[in-house]
């Protein structure tokens, strides 16, 4: 083998390494984009699942025996106060802030309803909302639906808004 052949072999070797290097770079770039695409798909699926779950929760929360009127499609406000007082943490409330706002009778004060405010003669107009579950976070997705509220102490019905903030 001559010196000329040896140089040719070395050149071929360098060529192979360069081709491989370029192939690797192309592969890495394509996999990077593929992963980005997959991650965004997974995130999108996660968000869709969370939205569906929250919408289902929005329609089913009113039938929770813990807070609903017995055999009626409404929320019993006194049961609601009792439930909040129990601090019961259900897995379905996870990563959500769940609030029930009074719309009618129109509240005069923007306060959170508590047993102390309930005991006041001005209840239910002396407070605005019942907080069923609180979760801290940023940029929540908010969904809401109107609900019927029942005030057993004077056997009257009102209108409220069930709000779910999903984090």
């Amino acid at each position: 083998m001559t010196a000329h052949q040896s140089t040719k072999a070395q050149l071929e070797m360098n060529e192979t390494i360069i081709v491989l290097f370029i192939v690797f770079i192309i592969l890495i770039i394509s996999i990077f984009f593929y992963y980005q695409y997959s991650i965004s798909n997974v995130k999108k699926t996660g968000e869709e699942t969370l939205t569906t779950s929250s919408s289902v929760l929005l329609s089913s929360i009113g039938s929770l025996p813990d807070i609903s009127c017995n055999k009626e499609n409404c929320i019993d406000t006194i049961k609601l106060l009792a439930f909040i007082n129990q601090n019961k943490d259900y897995p379905i409330f996870d990563k959500k802030t769940i609030t029930i706002e009074q719309v009618y009778p129109q509240p005069k004060l923007d306060k959170i309803c508590t047993p102390i405010l309930y005991n006041d003669v001005n209840f239910p107009t002396n407070c605005k909302k019942f907080i069923l579950h609180k979760n801290q976070g940023s940029n929540p997705k908010i969904i809401s639906t109107p609900i019927s509220l029942y005030y057993p102490q004077n056997k009257q019905y009102g209108i409220g808004k069930l709000i779910i903030e999903v984090y």
Binding site: A9, E12, T52, D66, N70, P152, Q153
Partner: protein, 309 residues
């Protein structure tokens, strides 16, 4: 000269080495991709199942088929599939393993005397329920309201024959024998056999020699659908009964803050006292207090007072 000769094998070794790395990389990538897809499908399936059960709970009683893509295992507080576990507050009576593509789901509101919870029942066609009666229990068994989507049959104890059951159930995963009469021992080759004995007159359910109080039909259905995990689910149901009773007890306390009429106050105090005992009970006295609560609630309504429920 020697350098030139060693160049070719080196090139082959180098190419093979790089080839192995590339193939290994792709194989690992493929495995990871399959793994991620499976994990994603599992999570989607569990969330979808939970959502569908939530949607079912909006009615007092409903049933439907639900598609599942993977094996589902259930314990008292969790829904599991592959590596994923989702905890649930729902009371789900189901066999420990569900592996059909299609499962049957049913929900029923449990009232005692007020609404306690929606109970859920899951099963599939591989699980058979035989409700065995005698002349004394026939009417009771005939009137049970199990939806037709489930694989269950009524059978007279006189017709109970091990060989017949063996022939018709050999390919099944499980057979639950529910005796509304004196039980007989049945051993089958193939499917698991669970035996439940129901003495509805004495309000007693026996599973593996352990006695439970029969607390209305929804819990009896629980024993039929999940004898393996009934012990835990029965406790969970009683805990929920305690929790809801406590909410009603607090409700009566809050009502007392607002009501000035003496008759209503005395009736509410009576009901609150009953509720305070009721929420702690775990024995047959539950029936006595249930009737008492029902009567007290009627009295409140009759006297135009705010009712407990």
């Amino acid at each position: 000269m020697k350098k030139g000769i060693s160049d070719i094998p080196f090139k082959w070794i180098f190419s093979a080495f790089v080839g192995v790395i590339i193939i290994a990389f792709f194989v690992r990538f493929a495995y990871q991709h399959v793994d991620t897809s499976n994990k994603l499908n599992t999570r989607q399936m569990i969330f979808s199942l939970d959502d569908q059960l939530n949607a079912l709970s909006t009615s007092q009683q409903s049933n439907k088929y639900i598609d599942i893509k993977q094996e589902l295992t259930l314990d008292c507080d969790n829904l599991n599939s592959l590596d994923f576990t989702k905890s649930t507050e729902k009371i789900i009576f189901a066999p420990p393993l569900l592996k059909n593509e299609k499962i049957e789901a049913w929900t029923l509101s449990w009232e005692f005397p007020f609404e306690i919870a929606n109970l859920y029942y899951l099963s599939n066609k591989n699980i058979r329920y035989l409700l065995i009666y005698d002349s004394n229990s026939f009417n009771y068994v005939k009137n049970l309201q199990i939806p037709k989507i489930f694989n269950y049959q009524l059978m007279d104890i006189k017709n109970l024959d091990q060989n017949t059951i063996q022939r018709s159930s050999s390919t099944l995963q499980q057979v639950n024998l529910i005796f509304f009469t004196q039980p007989k021992t049945i051993k089958l080759k193939g499917p698991n056999v669970n035996t439940v004995v129901v003495d509805f007159k004495n309000k007693d359910i026996t599973i593996k020699n352990k006695h439970y109080i029969y607390l209305n039909e929804p819990l009896l259905y629980g024993a039929i659908f999940a004898p393996e995990s009934y012990d835990c689910l029965y406790k969970k149901s009683l805990d929920q009964l305690g929790l809801i009773s406590n909410i009603y007890s607090q409700k009566s306390y809050y009502l007392l803050m607002k009501i000035n009429e003496p008759l209503c106050r005395s009736k509410l105090i009576e009901a609150k006292n009953t509720l305070d005992t009721f929420k702690t009970l775990r024995d047959i006295k539950l029936y006595e207090y249930e009737s008492k609560l029902e009567a007290q609630n009627k009295e409140l309504l009759k006297n135009d007072c705010p009712s407990i429920y």
